[in-house]
Symmetry: none
Subunit: 167 residues, 2 copies
DNA sequence: AAACACCGTTCACCGCGGCGAAACAGTGGC
DNA sequence: GCCACTGTTTCGCCGCGGTGAACGGTGTTT
């Protein structure tokens, strides 16, 4: 994802949008502006006038962060799925499913893999996995995470896409 | 955790130690030094000479990040829970519970952990903990602090969230 | 093209158990 | 005596996991 340069404090509205969408951004501070207070690792700032290599270094760092660590949610030891500062609590079965999906975030995980993970001794019903996936989908929707179906292959977890056209 | 100031590139050995231990650190760059390439969110840098408020702002940001992204409340020796300049008095049992929750602010604390903390000789009744958590919730609400239940796992203290969308 | 099996989504329902909340009572301090 | 603190009981909601069934899309067979 590209790093967006924002003049601060002039482009404050634009900054709020970028924070909402989680886009990496570098604030260019006026000579007299106060530094922002955000702790978001995808936001950085530099005061003008600035050395050009310093700007490039900060842009590169933000870009690197957005590729490596940003898009993947994280499940802590207590069954909490955390993403971009927010979290939801998962039930035990949902945790077992989500752990695999997060582990392969952005890639397909087979139904059998998920089923074995949640029910090592055999799936109770053919329907059980589907129902739990439905519940997991609804649970994580507020975080901006979605689970897509790949027919006859499995499921795929990713950052929520704007729902308008197909894929 | 305190933020460590490191001169760069002079104190390169010290920097390696700090990276190893995960201490938050701010690099003070010489006029001609190249910016470091670390993407670690607990490392930042600024080029000298720098505005003093800029240095303080970056130090504050690193400190906030090292504290689980959130400023935590504080309990003083007299059972006062302080947060953002305001405070409320806690009863002895509530203090015992709140100390653990503050200590792991933003993370889940198990019911058994809390129970052992408040009643080392055994919980009087199953519901005793629930009732005290209810009372603690109401007590700290005016401060903008809330205790969320994570079903079958425990409780979690955090800054109060706007109660509109999930979380 | 129609019929069919297969796969996946969604809903309604049930049993269980964790947890919330109110009401009440006992105790001790000021 | 008043009030804060603590513990107990009771009631009931609701989250969780499992099941059956209805519905719809897709690819295959006849």
């Amino acid at each position: 994802m590209d790093v967006v340069l924002v003049r601060w404090p002039e482009e404050d509205v634009r900054l709020l949008e970028l924070r909402e969408t989680g886009s990496p951004r570098l604030l260019l501070l006026n000579r007299e502006a106060e530094p922002p207070e955000s702790v978001d690792c995808l936001e950085d700032w530099i005061r003008l006038p600035a050395d050009d290599r310093d700007v490039r270094a900060r842009v590169a760092r933000l870009a690197s962060r957005s590729e490596t660590q940003q898009p993947a949610p994280h499940i802590d030891g207590d069954g909490l799925l955390r993403y971009r500062g927010r979290w939801v609590a998962l039930s035990p079965v949902e945790s077992a499913l989500a752990i695999k999906l997060v582990d392969r975030f952005g890639a397909v995980v087979g139904r059998d893999t998920l089923a074995r993970r949640a029910w090592p001794d055999g799936t109770p019903t053919r329907n059980a996995l589907d129902v739990h996936m439905l519940r997991l989908r609804r649970r994580i929707a507020p975080l901006g995470v979605e689970v897509r179906t790949v027919r006859s292959r499995g499921y795929l977890m990713q950052a929520a896409q704007p729902r308008a056209d197909a894929q």
